[in-house]
Symmetry: C2
Subunit: 338 residues, 2 copies
C-alpha cells in the first residue's frame, strides 16, 4: 500500500502546490492602483515600476537609486481654496493674540482677528510673511510640533467637512505605496513648510520626517532655564522649496537625482525637468485639476497651483504623464468609499 | 520497523536541530567589534545595541527612531595634520591655475602655487575662505563630483603612504556596521563639506549621500547651452555644520533627534548634548586621540580636533563614553592587518 499512499500524498501535495501557485498568481494580479480607471496613465505607472525593478529589463534601476519625489499641495492632497498651512497660520493668529493682546491693534493681525475678509483678500506678500513669521517661528521645535498636531486633530475643511489630513488623494496614496513596495524611497519635495509637513507625513503618507524636503527656516540651538538643549525656530529662510528651489532642495537634502517625480503646477516644473535630465528610465507626472464636481477645476489663472498652457505644452512635448482627475481617478478621497 | 525508522529519523532531525542551534549560537557569539580590545567601552557599545533592539528591554527603541550620527574628521578617519578636504582644496588651486594663470600673481593663491609654506602658515580665515570658495564653487555639481573622485583615486597621505580613503578607523567602521546590522540608520554629521563627503561616503563607509549632513553651500538651478538642466555650486553658505550647527543641521536634514552620537572634539559637543537630552536610552561617545605612535596624540591646544579639559569634564559628568585610541583599539587601520 505504501506506493499508493505515497502517490496520494504527492497528489495532495500537488493540489496544494496548485493552490499556492494560484494564490500567488491571484496576488500578482491584485490591482496595485484600484482607485485609478484603466487607461494609458495607470498602465504607464505600473509598467514603469515593473521595468525599473526587473533586472533583465534595460530600464532596471539599482535599489539604492530608487528615489521618487512628490509635491504635496495639489499633488497628494487638496490645496484649494488655500494651502492648509496658510489656514493653520491664520487660525494660529487667534491663539497668539491670547498671549499678545496688542496684536489686535496691529495690521495685518488686526484684519485676521476681526475676520475682515475684504482686508485679508488684499494682503500683500509682506503681510503674509508677517503672519507666517509670527506663527511659524519664535517657539521651540517641540512646541511647534505639538501645536500643529493639536490643530490637525480637529480642524476641518469647510467644503468637505473632513479633517485636512483626510483630504489626501487615494490614487496618489496608492502610487506612493506601489513605489515603496518596489524598493523606492518616497520623498516629499514641497513648497510647504518642512517642519509643518513632517508632523503628519509619517502617519498620513508613510513618509518619515527625514524624507520630507520643504521650505525650511533656520533653527537656533540653545539651552532652556533648566540647562536642557533646545532648538528654536527663527525667521531666517534657508530654502524656498518652490520652482528652481525644488531641484536645489533635492540636491541639498537628498543628494541624488530622482528617478520619478510627481507634481501639479508650475512650482514643480524644474523638479520634473531635473528628474527627466538624468540617464536611464524616468517618470514625470503632473496632476491636472479638472474635476470641479468631485474636487476643483483650475489651471492657468489660479493663484494656488497654477497650471499654465506653457506647462501643458512642455509636458506633452517631453512625454510627461498628465493625470486628468476627472477621467483617470475612479475615486479621489478614501472617505468616498469604494 | 516503521516506528523505529521514524524514531531514527527524528533522532537525525534532533541532531540537525542541535547543529543548527549551535551554529546560531556560534554566530551569536561572533565578535561584532573585533578591532576593539575587551573592556568597558566595547561592552557598553554592544550592550547598548542589544538593549535598544530587544523588545522586552525597557531601553527598546522602535526601528524608525534608530538614528545614529557620526562626525567624520577625527572620528571615523584621520584629520591630522590637516582636514583631507583642505588638502584637496589646496591641491585644486594648481588645477585651477592651469585655466586661470592670473592666479599666480594673486594672494592667497600665489602662496599656494609657489608652495610658500611660511606664507601659508600665516593664512587668515579670509585667505582660506577664498581658497575654498575658488575650489568648491563655480562648477556644476557633476563636475565637482568628478573632480573629487579623480583626486581621491590617487592622492595619498604623506605619513601613512595610503589613500586618504584608506585612513578610516577600522574600529569605527565596525561600530557603524554593528548599528546598521541592528536596524539603525547611520548618518554623517560632519563639519566637512556635504558634497565632498557624499562622493565617497557610500563606497568607503556604506553611508548613502542622503544620509550625509555636512557644511552645505547653495546650488543654483539653470540650463546649459544645450538646454539641459544643471545645478551650479555657488558661494552662499546654507549650513555651517559645526558646534551648534550640528544639532541645527540634524533638525534641518533629518528632523529627528539621534539615539546615538559619535564625535571627537568640541565641534561635536552640542550634537552629543542634543542627543543626550532626548528621552529613553542614549549613547554618546567621544574618540580621544592619545596614540602618537600609531596615529596622533592631541587635545586642548590642537587647532584641528580640539578636545578641551572642559569637554572631558562634561563627558565624565554626563556619562559619555570616551575612547582611548591607545587602549581601546586593537588596531586602527585595516591596512595594519590582523
Amino acid at each position: 500500500m505504501r506506493p499508493i499512499s505515497l502517490a496520494s500524498g504527492f497528489a495532495r501535495l500537488g493540489a496544494l502546490s496548485v493552490l499556492l501557485a494560484l494564490g500567488a498568481r491571484a496576488q500578482g494580479q491584485t490591482d496595485p492602483l484600484p482607485s485609478w480607471n484603466d487607461g494609458a496613465t495607470k498602465r504607464a505607472i505600473i509598467e514603469f515600476v515593473q521595468a525599473t525593478t526587473d533586472k533583465a529589463n534595460p530600464k532596471y534601476v539599482a535599489p539604492e537609486a530608487r528615489i521618487a519625489t512628490f509635491d504635496q499641495d495639489g499633488t497628494t492632497w487638496v490645496e484649494q481654496p488655500m494651502y492648509t498651512q496658510v489656514i493653520y497660520c491664520l487660525e494660529q493668529v487667534h491663539v497668539l493674540a491670547q498671549k499678545k493682546p496688542e496684536l489686535k491693534t496691529v495690521e495685518p493681525f488686526k484684519a485676521v482677528l476681526s475676520d475682515d475678509r475684504e482686508a485679508m483678500a488684499k494682503f500683500t506678500m509682506k503681510d503674509l510673511e508677517k503672519i507666517l513669521g509670527a506663527t511659524l517661528t519664535g517657539m521651540t521645535v517641540d512646541e511647534f510640533n505639538a501645536g500643529v498636531k493639536r490643530w490637525l486633530a480637529t480642524a476641518k475643511d469647510h467644503r468637505f467637512k473632513h479633517l485636512y489630513t483626510e483630504l489626501t488623494y487615494q490614487p496618489m496614496l496608492e502610487v506612493m505605496k506601489l513605489f515603496r513596495d518596489n524598493g523606492y524611497k518616497t520623498y516629499f519635495v514641497t513648497g510647504g513648510g518642512q517642519d509643518f509637513v513632517r508632523v503628519y507625513s509619517g502617519s498620513v503618507y508613510g513618509i518619515p520626517p527625514e524624507q520630507v524636503v520643504g521650505t525650511a527656516g533656520a533653527t537656533q540651538f540653545g539651552y532652556d532655564k533648566s540647562g536642557k538643549p533646545t532648538l528654536t525656530k527663527v525667521p531666517k529662510l534657508l530654502l524656498n522649496d518652490d520652482k528652481a528651489g525644488k531641484p536645489e532642495g533635492i540636491h541639498l537634502m537628498i543628494g541624488r537625482r530622482p528617478v520619478a517625480a510627481f507634481g501639479n503646477s508650475i512650482g514643480d516644473r524644474q523638479m520634473l525637468e531635473y528628474t527627466g535630465a538624468g540617464d536611464g528610465a524616468r517618470l514625470m507626472l503632473l496632476v491636472h485639476h479638472d474635476d470641479a464636481e468631485r474636487e476643483y477645476a483650475y489651471g492657468p489663472t489660479s493663484k494656488v497651483g497654477t497650471f499654465t498652457d506653457d506647462l501643458m505644452a512642455e509636458a506633452n512635448s517631453k512625454g510627461w504623464l498628465v493625470v486628468s482627475m476627472k477621467n483617470d481617478w475612479k475615486r479621489i478621497f478614501a472617505f468616498e468609499g469604494n
